[in-house]
Amino acid sequence: MTSRATTAPQNRHAVASADIVVFDHVHKAYAARGSAGAVAALHDISLSVRTGSVMGVIGRSGAGKSTLIRLVNGLETPTGGRVLFDGVDVGTLAGGALRQTQRQIGMIFQHFNLLSSRTVFENVALPLEIAGTAKATLAKRVNALLELVGLADKRDRYPSELSGGQKQRVGIARALATEPKLLLSDEATSALDPETTRSILDLLKTVNRELGLTILLITHEMSVVRAIADEVVVLDGGRVAEHGNAYDVFTQPQHAVTRSFFANDAGRQLPDDLRAKLQASAPPGGKAIVRIVFRTASADDAVLSKLARDLGVDVNIISATVDTLAGKPFGWFIASLDGGKQVDDTVAYLARYGVNAEVLGYVA
């Protein structure tokens, strides 16, 4: 794991009451079929999810994300270490005690997992029926939730009559039915188109803000994490590759896996024609393509013009974007520089001003 000086200190050694979920040296291995021995899914995971925050866990498929999230609500049990929810070791619970804890944790799924035989209303009512809620309370609660997710007019429809986005809204209403303290999101937007994804993420954000609900979400899409997470965990091969607050991880990715996620993030892609021409080493007289990330909006112009003055480097900007992340602005440029030693000098120069520059490749 890459440690970060920049990670907010209250997350590192937080007291138990401030963290709703704590992974304490968690291992998970699956018994393999045949004689192959156990297959490890998670190695020595130690993480805390701060109460009221949104934590995004990103990783490729097979990185252990699904296992990680299922340890929290007892759908899986760790083979080593402890997973604490609200101070309780979930792995040691069974029977009624486990079910009582599970009712305090809502979960939404990639494929929604709605009952096709139940209407929207009945689907949202299911967790309340399971918990034995009185009928009158149940109806009031379900109607309020359908109002919250904007589906009050669809209460008597069946899931097959809804769009993907509407189905996930039902999923969210259902997950909130028992007034949980924590919402687990298992690739909840992965089956949705970008626009619907945005509206679902907005809804999750609203829920986080207005109900103060902690959200732990897993995804393979950087854009999801960027849109919603306060804190980011990058999972790779069952280990935590990187962990920090979203702004730091996004503006200064430390681990190769994190960078590869950036490369796939739609907003950060190189123009196609440029990407096709990119080479790993510098041809004579070629130009270097660099990505320059500014962490504060004010620094932008000043540093670039100073760079041109001090080093005599021509910075040719190919594309630029300014974005906000967790309420803080950040910008990035794709630029070309003259090749050779100048490139290293430029990167070093920018680093002195706290500007992160990364050489993506070279073009002739």
Binding site: Q102, R103, N113, L115, L126, P127, I130
Partner: protein
């Protein structure tokens, strides 16, 4: 055709319906829970009880591999114990039920296994007990498939009911054999076959329609 023959055909039809309806009801009463258990009793499954599942699975297979005509005569003492007699329409319900149970159980097992595992996982995440998952998730979600399975079982039972003539069970099959074949009355045989075709058609299309109505996965469902 004489009024006497027509009366016989009507009576035989009623007998057949009576036997099939009772055998289907009792068969479902036992077959449904058995089928649910066969679908969920395996290792690592919802009601995990692998030893019992293996034994019950074996018993179900053994019963299903016994030819029905052998089953009918082999269990005569049991039939007498249950029905008070070993002869007649009511007595015939016993072997029919016994044959229907494992058949229905296997059909229901298949229907339950069709339910998306994601739904079970969602219910577990809500803190549902295994019984709640069976009652509120598995049965309602599998219902269209269960109805189709029971339809198939009903059609099969109509066929099986023709055999119980050997213990004086009556019904359409028995009538066809005794009058149509043994008394050389081909017109009786023809009528019996036509009535059976109509019965099977009716049962099948009723089952299909009911299953479609229950299936909310289809957008055009009412």
């Amino acid at each position: 055709m004489s009024p006497e023959i027509i009366r016989l055909i009507v009576e035989a039809t009623i007998d057949t319906l009576y036997m099939v309806a009772l055998a289907l009801s009792f068969g479902t009463l036992v077959g449904l829970p058995l089928g649910i258990f066969l679908a969920t009793g395996g290792k690592g499954e919802l009601l995990a009880f692998p030893a019992a599942k293996t034994v019950l699975g074996f018993v179900a297979n053994a019963t299903r591999s016994t030819p029905f005509i052998i089953l009918v005569v082999a269990i005569i003492p049991f039939t007498r114990l249950v029905a008070g007699t070993s002869i007649g329409t009511t007595a015939a319900v016993v072997p029919l039920t016994l044959a229907a149970i494992p058949f229905i159980a296997r059909l229901i097992e298949a229907a339950i296994r069709e339910v998306d595992y994601g739904l079970v996982e969602a219910a577990r995440a809500m803190g549902a007990t295994p019984l709640q998952i069976v009652r509120k998730v598995l049965i309602p979600e599998a219902l269209p498939g269960i109805v189709l399975g029971l339809t198939l079982a009903a059609v099969n039972l109509i066929g099986f009911s023709a055999i119980v003539g050997v213990v004086g069970g009556g019904g359409l099959g028995d009538l066809g054999i005794r009058y149509g074949y043994q008394r050389f009355m081909p017109e009786v045989m023809a009528v019996v076959v036509v009535v059976l075709i109509v019965l099977v058609q009716g049962v099948q299309s009723f089952g299909d329609r009911l299953s479609r109505r229950l299936n909310k996965r289809l957008r055009h469902s009412s």
